[in-house]
Symmetry: C2
Subunit: 473 residues, 2 copies
């Protein structure tokens, strides 16, 4: 509980009306796109970095937890105020976005919607490749703190590969800059990349410098259907072995295909085990040749059909099938548990086999789609929130998914972050020493444990996924 005097002090650190305190307001900040329901004690809406620094200093004096929050599209509980305290809502923060075309950089404040970065870059003939599926609503600040990246990781790398400088309010309330405006920078430790993906536990980002690249001149897209899922993996490997590096290689399993076709019929075949979407970008001459070769390789490796988009409208049609997956499968259950366990690409068939076993073992609605090119699958479990037995089975299935990913040489999370849900599994992947190295950084930077406590690091005694948490820990 924040003492009354401390609260009065906090009010004075913010512009009028920027500290929300009544229950209705606080309630609106008690959830995100994941699970759980945690009521904050207050919500601060800072409008400049000095206010943030002052709030962090205040929090250290009064030992009050802080939780930075962007658009709250987190699928891992990133912004949830799990230990009480104050949510730092960045929505009132000035939305600055400057493109430096000559240096191919953008300087952006954390509150800017990621799609705005895409639009501004493209208007300057440039390109910002990271594109999480939430990019039309999520903020760049949230994207970079979770390192959420989307379909283009294989060719273009993740968000981390684009962030070269940050301005940060540290966990003790200092304002610092890391990195800068150059792609090459080895002046001391790479704090920029340490902070990207730190899920708000190492400070609050107040500005980012991201690098841009020339916009690819053209792109081509094809959709291939595979009666056998394993063949889609072989085709994908053959494409890469032919020296082609697609901008995206997306896969949907049979359950996704059926859900999409049921949600909005568009002629997808419901009798195949996999759809593979391949997008190539680059020089027009190269694309034509490479798309033709991709088509051949799919057909030679078990594809039943291959549709090559003739123009941008047909490209959009193909992508529409992929983009309908999330809304379509959301219909299948009131609880949608969206995972992002990632494996080395060659292990995708083995992972699919494990997921099939998990589906059967726990009798769950488990569908799989994702970024096949970088091994980043999205197994989604659709369950009924009110069915306690089913939710328990889902909890157990999630634990098995993580174990399978790690056993196959993969990782708990490719892009959603650890947050609350995966914290209990950290040691399984990292071992006690690996986790201790991370914890040592956290403790050194945030001795009072102010910044986003309860995330990433497992609380003592946490042993399983926390899907059924419901309120106040």
């Amino acid at each position: 509980m924040i003492a009354e005097a401390a609260f009065a002090e906090l009010v004075r650190l913010l512009p009028p009306g920027r500290l929300l305190n009544d229950l209705a307001d606080r309630d609106a900040y008690s959830f995100d796109a994941s699970f759980g329901d945690y009521l904050p004690e207050a919500v601060a809406q800072p409008t400049d970095k000095e206010q943030i620094a002052a709030i962090v200093q205040w929090a250290n004096r009064h030992l009050v937890p802080l939780y930075p929050r962007g658009a709250a599209t987190s699928l891992s509980g990133g912004p949830l105020p799990v230990q009480g305290g104050v949510v730092i809502d960045m929505s009132a923060y000035p939305k600055r976005l400057a493109i430096d075309a000559e240096n191919m950089l953008a300087t952006v404040s954390p509150s800017v919607i990621t799609a705005e970065v895409h639009r501004a870059a493209e208007a300057a003939g440039l390109f910002y490749p990271p594109d999480p599926s939430s990019s039309a609503v999520s903020t760049i600040g949230g994207n970079l703190l979770e390192n959420s990246s989307g379909p283009k990781g294989l060719k273009y790398g993740t968000t981390k590969e684009y962030v070269i400088g940050l301005e940060l309010v540290t966990p003790t309330g200092a304002i610092v800059r890391t990195g800068g405006r150059t792609v090459k920078n080895v002046t001391g430790y790479d704090l920029t990349r340490l902070i990207v993906g730190s899920e708000g536990t190492l400070g609050i980002v107040t500005e980012a410098i991201v690098r841009l690249i020339p916009k690819p001149k053209a792109s081509g897209t094809l959709l291939a259907t595979f009666p056998r899922f394993a063949d889609s993996g072989v085709a994908l490997t053959r494409v890469l072995a032919a020296g082609i590096l697609p901008a995206a290689m997306e896969v949907m399993d049979e359950f996704c295909i059926r859900a999409v076709e049921k949600y909005e019929p568009s002629g997808l075949p419901t009798d195949v085990e996999a759809i593979l979407i391949i997008e190539i970008d680059g020089h027009p001459a190269a694309i034509e040749e490479e798309i033709a070769l991709c088509r051949e390789l799919c057909l030679a490796n078990g594809a039943a059909s291959v549709r090559v988009a003739a123009d941008s409208s047909e490209q959009a049609d193909i992508w529409r099938a992929r983009k309908l997956v999330s809304p379509a499968i959301a219909r299948l259950g009131s609880a949608k548990i969206s995972e992002d366990a990632t494996v080395p690409r060659s292990q995708i068939p083995a992972m699919m086999q494990r997921l099939k076993e998990i589906r059967e073992k726990y009798r769950l609605n488990l569908v799989v789609f994702g970024h096949a090119g970088d091994g980043n699958l999205h197994p989604n479990i659709l369950a009924d929130k009110r069915d306690k037995d089913e939710m328990k089975r889902a909890e157990a299935a999630v634990a098995d998914i993580f174990a399978a990913a790690v056993a196959l040489g993969g990782t708990l999370s490719g892009e959603h972050g650890i947050g609350l849900m995966k914290a209990p599994f950290m040691e399984m992947e990292l071992g006690p020493e690996g986790l201790a190295l991370m914890k040592a950084i956290k403790t050194a930077w945030d001795p009072n444990g102010i910044m986003n406590p309860g995330k990433i690091f497992p609380a003592p005694g946490m042993t399983k996924a926390v899907l059924t948490y419901d309120g106040q820990g």
Copy 2:
């Protein structure tokens, strides 16, 4: 001084003959490719990671500094044993290199020469882009601890962008793994990228997993000469603005050109201020068109001549001019102070102007070449080691170079690392808080200050470049 009993203990941790102790051997480990001459107390040549872990534990018990060392091509004093203690020479470490073509990865031990990684990747139709000019002799372990990257940073990113997993002996002697075999991984903090570029101060790398990409199908190269240096910068910007992302854009100033032409006459014009070499790689059809456009853009922006390589032998001829720069300028003085201050690309003309002023102010032989595409210039000062006044002027000039880079929004080091030489300037770029954040990590991981002490972090009272250190600090 290592006590006799401690020394006897150390001997038992290594295979017979793998602890070097006599003066001649130790002397061979007292220098690197930078400045200074520091005699180690002993040299250990471990042959497995368990030996390294045992040595690190021993060093913590006896408070003996350790200095990991690859091929000692460091230009910033990285492996120098500046506070006595033991050099960990990785040259006896097993040289393992496994290409996983299906996942486009290489698993490599730190003692492998970087050029071997290039060769093995290419034999599998793949490509490892980082290519520091020392790659024929330097080790991958050294490259990644310094994040040294070479000419391809603009298109392909730096070494850091390719290292996705590490095995590390920590500063307290635990063996841990960071990252893994997937490009996407947000399971906790990114320790992999924290360690890459940490100059051996955060542990000893015993294995790295690097990602590879499909080998570009073809490449094209041109050499343009510019009577006015500034025009080369304009041409380069126009090329990027045309949506072309060259694999390399290398620049040489008039002093370099004359040195190369004198060293090995090959018909370079000695009356121009700049040579710009542009290399494009990718699909053959795209290359032909893009090289032609680069040629036009150079000629339209002040180039006196443009030579396009007709085949791979002419490409090699063009690169030969660039590769002769180092040996050619080494003839100009017994001391070659090679810097790597990096600025945003648009600031290259301003930086060249500052370098001209510095050359004149200190009456020094200062030549400039480098990776213009990513703003990573290599100003080199050639001086006479025995001329104390000239060396003092060089020291002052180096300080001015750093100040100019930082004033222009750049950084002290693009790829050589901070080491000894630049440590006094860290606070100028990072401020006291930024430096304190780095130091907090170092202290948390290495409480006894065992791992490569005296590097990156300025010692109290250090205020200037340390070119004239000569022995034992």
